[in-house]
Symmetry: C2
Subunit: 334 residues, 2 copies
């Protein structure tokens, strides 16, 4: 931790977020599973954000950011966001909580189950080309034309602080964790959790879990954005962690507070982790959660000494039950 500069997100922000969103989001349970502990050879603690409001952790950051926007700007005419789906549901839900209009920009081809859910919270959907650039452009255009406020899925300190509340709760239940595994897209959850964990338990490492092709570890080691600009969507079945590049605001925080070691997981491995979670824990999770489960069960020996007690964020459960990947892909999982 760099003591000289003031951190843009710190434990106080996370604690304030926790109070602000209390009652609007669930304090999710932390599960253990003997079968998975036996497979992993260590103690695993699963923070079940798949059971969160809207089916994903995103409700936390969205509520914190939207509620704060309404506090700061009582004349706010509404919210607009771009998202792969889970953040959109979070923002739609948060907007509904405080009676704000909400427009969501989605890449064409987003899962129907997510579109339906967003509409279910009363938000308006606008579709755009499936590139990170197209969706940023479209949401800027809408904000400009309507006066609505953009709440980005990660490059927003209030969102990060909201996601950090996951770590507050997890460490309250399991204070002596050695490591926390966080599936990572633009890095809002990783940044928020890393900030909170560093403040509360500095000896606990916070590791990103990523799909193949992200190359986050090299960037963290170099403390440099080595991604092409504009970056692309990764070719992964985990539709909630498809962004190649970490956000502009999250990256420096992650460099400062997260471990530079990153666990890289193939699609097959994610699906194995996902099916394991359905089968052994009886929890419905999406592929991004499966990535963290796979890393926890099979990859902890990549760091020395391997952690004994590992927190695993089951980041979401919004998956298309008519297209479960172990049934629709050619590989055999078990």
């Amino acid at each position: 931790m760099n003591g000289v500069k003031a951190a843009p997100v710190d434990l106080l922000h996370v604690r304030a977020a926790s109070q602000r969103i209390h009652g609007w989001v669930h304090r999710t349970p932390v599960f253990t599973c003997q079968a998975l502990d036996d497979m992993a050879g260590r103690e695993l603690y699963f923070k079940a954000e798949n059971l969160q409001k809207t089916g994903a952790f995103k409700a936390r950051g969205a509520c914190n950011a939207v509620f704060l926007e309404k506090e700061r700007n009582p004349n706010c005419v509404g919210i607009v966001t771009d998202s792969s789906g889970n953040h959109a549901q979070g923002v739609a839900y948060a907007s509904k909580c405080v009676d704000l209009d909400c427009t969501v920009v989605l890449p064409r081809g987003a899962p129907k189950v997510k579109c339906d859910a967003i509409r279910g919270y009363g938000a308006e959907l606008v579709f755009c080309d499936p590139t990170p650039t197209a969706r940023k452009k479209m949401s800027a255009k809408i904000a400009n034309e309507t006066g609505k406020t953009i709440i980005s899925s990660s490059d927003n300190y209030d969102v990060m602080a909201g996601q950090g509340t996951i770590a507050l709760e997890l460490l309250e239940e399991v204070p002596d964790l050695d490591a926390v595994l966080v599936s990572t897209s633009a890095g809002g959850m990783l940044a928020g959790i890393a900030v909170a964990v560093r403040a509360l338990r500095p000896q606990c490492r916070v590791y990103a879990v990523e799909p193949v092709g992200k190359g986050l570890q090299k960037c963290l080691e170099a403390k440099e954005r080595l991604w092409p600009n504009p970056s692309r969507f990764l070719n992964t079945i985990a539709d909630s962690i498809r962004l190649q590049a970490i956000g502009e605001l999250t990256f420096p925080i992650i460099c400062d507070y997260a471990d530079s070691k990153v666990f890289t997981v193939t699609d097959d491995q994610m699906v194995e982790g996902m099916k394991l979670t359905f089968e052994r824990m009886k929890l419905v999770v999406e592929a991004a959660s499966g990535a963290a489960v796979y890393a926890a069960v099979h990859m902890m020996d990549e760091v020395q000494p391997p952690p004994r007690k590992v927190g695993v964020i089951l980041c979401g459960g919004n998956t298309d039950l008519d297209n479960l990947p172990w049934l629709t892909r050619s590989t055999t999982y078990n």
Copy 2:
């Protein structure tokens, strides 16, 4: 409640079971789900026995009965049981807890996932013809030859007392329930829960949920076993509630303590309830749990006045994830 005769299972037995099995089984969470409450038009409280040890409530009754057997008979050489699968896993798990040998008689064709799980607890499997009579004969034969003790899946008061602990926990968390819905096969869980609920909250109704073809309501109204003898397995996808007839020992208890109204659910309806639970609650449940969910969401108006606060037992989560019924059956669910 009939005050004259001494009940073979009462609240004291259930409380003793709760103490006996404490630490060996989970106190499962009680979940609520706004989306399902909205659909049902009432408050639903889901007791998540799918998250129980072995993936089903059966671990409770099995632990109580096996532990008691070991207390009463220190020379016990082992346990034998017949089961559609979940009770077998429970008995195998309970036997392993107290270092007893265990033999499980299964109908040929039992789901592989269940067979593997039973073997995983160190039990020996013996297969028999898929009829209730064949499996009773086979387990009697094994008990006779080996000296092992038979622990039946329901016609055992200790098993019933163990299952009754579900109601203790549920009423501790939601003391003012109006009704509890219990998917029913031989009736061990229904009997245990009905006894505990009647003692703790007499105004709360306990309703069975059954597959088509069981005809339980007529039997309860007549207080008479109207099933053919020997009874058969019902033709339902819910493999954990396939017994047509209620047990000999459970039936009189159910007549005394449960409501005579029974909710009858088709396979299509169970599958709809099952998929709803996956999708909205992010919980993996088996078809028998889906039956109770369907009844809770869609059938409560069959009783007058309809209950406002309803406990729903999610009895288990052991389902074949490679053959989820909404994907393998011809009907469309949503």
